[in-house]
């Protein structure tokens, strides 16, 4: 099939950037979306143009590196699917497809469709861990965890840190990402000692990074490739209020 692409091109952080139109021909429906872009880049290279820069790595939906706003939807039209797992059979011959980078102050554009998501690492640095230095651990069976808690912690822990939640949120909020980690660690007995400080510090880091606040619109969970539920944010709110009304500080 033949498609028209309108792709955001931006040479660097200082450039203003613009949408540029490209034609791609003979796209196979079995191609993944990124393979379609590979094909475009091969042609641009041979034509002497600069290929489109986009982030990607594992191409099996788990590393969280790919990040495209496709026709205004984070990771494209399919639910619970990363861009690398989106296939061209979901588009029709003659379609025009708009491709943009994640847009958020906390995710500045590096080049074309590539953005800097270091802000997520900063949120984790603020408390998204359990302080258990190597070698200090008791036997793995020392603290049983109810299966329901372990399963719920796992669900929250499947977050791949891609940033689609931020990209889709009308407020540019990273609360679903933050909440997923707060929920994962807060549900486990090992995570209890640091639970109060964790939520306060992570929310502070989230705000300092320039993300917007959550207003419970639910757009984040609708585009999340791992289906992290909005209830995680309820858990974060609960922990936050509890921590701030009982905090020793």
């Amino acid at each position: 099939m033949n498609l028209t692409l309108r792709i955001w091109r931006q040479t660097g952080p200082a450039d203003k950037g613009r949408m540029v139109k490209y034609r791609v021909e003979d796209v196979s429906p079995d191609m993944s979306f990124l393979e379609m872009l590979d094909m475009l880049n091969e042609r641009l290279t041979l034509d002497g143009d600069e290929p489109v820069a986009f982030d990607h790595d594992c191409r099996e939906g788990i590393c969280g590196m790919c990040s495209l706003m496709i026709n205004g939807a984070a990771h494209g039209p399919e639910r619970a699917t990363t861009t690398c797992q989106l296939h061209m059979r979901h588009f029709a011959d003659g379609d025009t497809i708009d491709i943009e980078p994640w847009r958020a102050r906390a995710f500045p554009v590096v080049k074309d469709l590539v953005v800097d998501r270091t802000a997520f690492d900063k949120i984790i640095q603020a408390g998204g861990y359990i302080s258990a230095a190597t070698g200090t651990a008791p036997d793995a069976h020392a603290a049983p965890v109810p299966k329901a808690d372990a399963d719920a912690a796992f669900e929250a822990a499947t977050c791949i840190g891609c940033g689609a939640c931020v990209a889709a949120c009308p407020n540019g909020s990273g609360m679903l990402f933050t909440a997923a980690k707060v929920t994962h660690l807060g549900l486990l007995p090992q995570g209890q000692p640091e639970r109060r400080e964790r939520v306060l510090n992570m929310v502070e880091a989230h705000d300092d990074a320039g993300f917007g606040g959550c207003t419970n619109t639910g757009e984040c969970t609708a585009v999340c490739p791992k289906g992290i539920p909005l209830t995680a944010i309820g858990q974060l709110n609960r922990d936050f209020l509890k921590a701030s009304t009982t905090s020793a500080r």
Partner: protein, 228 residues
């Protein structure tokens, strides 16, 4: 304010909590207000009597209208805190996305959520008008503070259809605001389970529908002549 409190009120989550708590207070007020309004169906005298009673709540412990003023001050504080938090979060949201998308496809089903800000502005404008109309009487064709029933009937007379229309629009905006707002407040105050989410959404819808129906019944009854 000590450091911990400031840290909380400055954070996005803390601001949401302020919105939730003040929102809940205002919803409680609205429910009582609506129940009072329905008194109009009992009769003109009863309605006027009820309106007069509002000024005497708390007597003789409190002097006349003191309770009313305490409650008004409380509401005003809630409104200001609610709007302050909302504005602050809205400005933050705007700053959080300096470059807009060229192509944006909003998620279906979040209409109420996406109209919170404009809905809120419409409601504020309406409240200002509403106070000048039916509290102080400045914009009311009768404006007799001793006879609120007459004010109401004059207000929603068929020839003043535009007032009724504005009222209806404002109440519809309020209903949308409550449908997302009540759910959001529950979520902000810690609702965190899947089944709880379903209940919270249903509860929010019920509150929105009940309040809207209650408030709309009065002007419609007047305009259609059920109440004269």
């Amino acid at each position: 304010m000590d450091l911990a409190t400031r840290r909380v009120t400055r954070s996005t989550v803390g601001k949401k909590a302020v919105m939730a708590v003040t929102g809940v207070a205002m919803v409680l007020f609205l429910l009582l207000h609506m129940l009072g309004n329905l008194k109009i169906f009992v009769g003109a005298e009863d309605f006027d009597h009820y309106a007069h009673w509002l000024r005497t709540i708390g007597m003789p412990v409190l002097p006349e209208t003191w309770f009313l003023w305490i409650q008004r001050v409380g509401l005003l504080v809630a409104v200001i805190a609610h709007i302050w938090s909302a504005t602050s979060l809205a400005l933050r949201a705007r700053a959080a996305r300096p470059v807009k998308y060229a192509h944006r496809r909003p998620v279906k089903g979040s209409y109420a959520a996406r109209t919170m800000r404009w809905g809120g502005v419409i409601i504020v404008l309406f409240v200002v008008y509403h106070i000048l109309d039916l509290t102080t009487g400045h914009l009311n064709p009768v404006g007799d503070r001793a006879h609120p029933h007459a004010n109401v009937v004059a207000d929603f007379a068929p020839e003043r259809w535009y007032v009724t229309l504005f009222y209806v629009l404002a109440v519809v905006a309020l209903a949308f605001h409550l449908r997302h707002g009540v759910f959001s407040a529950l979520r902000t105050l810690g609702q965190h389970t899947q089944s709880g989410e379903r209940r919270a959404r249903f509860f929010a819808l019920a509150v929105a529908v009940v309040i809207a129906a209650g408030f709309l019944s009065v002007p419609i009854a007047v305009t259609t002549g059920v109440i004269q």
